[in-house]
């Protein structure tokens, strides 16, 4: 558990946080630019000196009398741009941190990292300047991992990359997530990255933490700014249940029911994360007949929030805990007489698989 309490005045905002972050899985610090997410990460790393305190897994990293210098904090840090040392070879870059920790503390070996991140062909090249942006960032991630961090921090590691390089890196990040037990603090302003990678979501606005909680719960809240995003929606943690080879479809089962989606290239039993956007869900008060939409789920409305004069965002519960959001017109909401507690049918037009 990270217990962070910081105050730091900046020209654009004042960072003022008092929050707890899990040291497990992927925690995304999410917010618009100028919200203080990078500053918060830098304060945790010790790159920025705010007043306040910081405890990580019970250890004091900062309080009134202590300020652990950056090089004594067991962390790995990946900056927005790869920042490889230009005077060192790719291999020397990779092993820069590794050679600086005691052999007894080395929990990650160069061979493993080279393997995980597919760095084999890059190692042979001497000069980091010969690598592409995506390749450089992969080396930087490997370099951070080889310092055997207890927490890995990434500050928008994909934002300086073009779309192709981004697509190249994301699978590696997902693998790190799945295969490494190192917790990751991930700063991003791209909701699609967050939805793909994060387990825990921390929302920042103007230097303050406005929400912090498990990804699914936080995305399903109607009172947060992300609910107003055009791509607002929920995530569904599901299991591949069945493939229909004739129609090239796959059935995903989750706690609130099941969804048919386009054929997923995963064996039955695999865990996948699906995303259902609010704009792709419509609502019917009686079970639709003769619909081309194959995913129709029985649900119960738990909350309705108007968005201006024309739109309304409806939150529904499927089964016990899974939540679904639907963005509909306020006119439809009034015509159907929707209200909290009402049983309805949610029609899901589209599902995006993120893993």
């Amino acid at each position: 558990m990270i217990r962070a309490c910081f105050k730091l005045a900046r020209p654009e905002f004042t960072l003022d946080v008092d929050t707890q972050l899990p040291v497990r899985g992927v925690t995304a610090l999410f917010g618009p630019s100028g919200s203080g997410k990078t500053t918060l990460l830098r304060c945790i790393a010790g790159l920025e000196r705010a007043s306040g305190s910081l405890h990580v897994d019970g250890a004091v990293w900062q309080d009134e009398t202590t300020f652990l210098p950056v090089h004594r904090r067991p962390l790995g840090y990946v900056f927005q741009e790869a920042s490889l040392f230009p005077h060192l070879s790719v291999r020397a870059n990779l092993e820069y941190g590794y050679t600086r920790i005691r052999p007894g503390e080395r929990r990650v070996q160069p061979g493993q990292v080279i393997d995980w991140l597919g760095l084999g062909p890059l190692i042979a090249r001497a000069d980091p300047a010969e690598l592409s942006g995506g390749e450089r960032q992969r080396v930087a991630i490997g370099r951070a991992l080889l310092a055997s961090p207890r927490i890995l921090m990434m500050d928008e590691p994909l934002s300086a990359l073009d779309t192709a390089s981004r697509q190249e890196i994301i699978p590696y990040l997902e693998r790190l997530h799945r295969e490494l037990s190192i917790p990751l603090l991930y700063v991003s302003h791209a909701l699609d990255e967050v939805v793909r990678l994060a387990d825990h979501l921390v929302l920042l606005e103007q230097g303050r933490v406005i929400a912090s909680g498990p990804l699914g719960e936080t995305l399903a809240r109607l009172d947060l700014p992300i609910a107003r995003f055009d791509d607002a929606g929920v995530v569904i943690e599901a299991v591949v249940a069945q493939h229909d080879e004739a129609y090239q479809l796959t059935r995903l089962d989750f706690s609130g029911g099941s969804l048919w989606v386009g054929r997923v290239n995963r064996p039955p039993g695999s865990h996948v994360r699906a995303r259902v956007l609010a704009r792709d869900v419509s609502i019917a008060t009686i079970e639709p007949q003769g619909s081309s939409i194959s995913n129709i789920l029985a649900a119960r409305i738990s909350e309705i929030r108007d968005e201006g004069a024309d739109k309304a965002l409806v939150r529904m519960t499927l089964g016990n805990e899974q939540v679904l959001l639907a963005r509909i017109t306020r006119r439809s909401s009034d015509l159907l007489g929707l209200c909290a507690g009402m049983p309805v049918f949610a029609q899901v037009k589209s599902v995006v698989l993120t893993t």
Partner: protein, 227 residues
């Protein structure tokens, strides 16, 4: 003009090289931390210290020499110190010349180093720190290699500028053979004695030396990115 250099000329050349080498060494030692401080500080003193370091560029060497002479003289603070330490007085000694030259050539070492340090992105230092490098470790494993061209320029300019000094030497060192009579003073003596041939040999030697030094610097010290 049978022999190119007289024994006195050779002694002056040797003394000049010795002086320049010692001064360059000292300047790199004290100039590096000064340049680092100037490059990285956010202190309000930065401007004042920077201007102080740069003074020798604009001041007449005689002014620097005069004040150093006064300070190192029997009634000056440095003179009091050296006398109480039993070293005696520094003016008109090789040591005095070294100290004066260090002041005189300081900006030619500090400024290239400062420029080189300022060109190193803060991000490189932060990266090293997140990879467990202490500040000193970062300095030697990241800063020095990245600032290598700056160090080369600083060393060459410090050396060459010390070789070329004249006014400060006259003020503080006088003209003692084997002690303080460097090449520039020797040339002056030759000209005073109407020995134009000997003056030519030494002067031409200085021109060639300076040209070769700068040529080497510009050829082997590519500025900008590697490769």
């Amino acid at each position: 003009m049978e022999s190119a250099f007289s024994a006195a000329d050779l002694s002056a050349i040797w003394l000049t090289l010795k002086l320049a080498t010692v001064v360059t060494f000292i300047l790199l030692l004290i100039g590096t931390p000064m340049a680092w401080w100037l490059a990285r500080t956010r202190s309000g003193w930065k401007g004042a210290i920077g201007a102080l370091v740069a003074l020798p560029i604009v001041l007449p060497p005689t002014v620097i020499g005069f004040y150093l002479l006064v300070m190192m003289g029997p009634d000056g603070p440095i003179g009091h110190l050296t006398q109480s330490l039993g070293i005696g007085l520094l003016p008109f000694t090789f040591t005095g010349l070294v100290i004066a030259s260090v002041f005189y050539s300081l900006p030619f070492v500090v400024q290239p180093l400062q420029n080189a340090f300022e060109a190193i992105p803060e991000r490189a230092l932060e990266t090293a720190a997140t990879l467990r490098a202490t500040a000193l470790d970062t300095f030697f494993s990241v800063v020095v290699p990245l600032a290598r061209p700056g160090f080369l320029t600083a060393a060459v300019l410090g050396f060459a500028h010390t070789v070329g000094e004249f006014g400060v030497v006259l003020m503080i060192g006088g003209n003692i053979p084997g002690q303080t009579r460097v090449v520039s003073v020797q040339i002056y003596d030759h000209v005073e004695a109407m020995q134009y041939g000997a003056a030519h040999w030494l002067s031409a030697g200085m021109v060639v030396f300076s040209f070769v030094v700068l040529l080497l610097l510009y050829t082997f010290n590519p500025t900008g990115r590697r490769r």
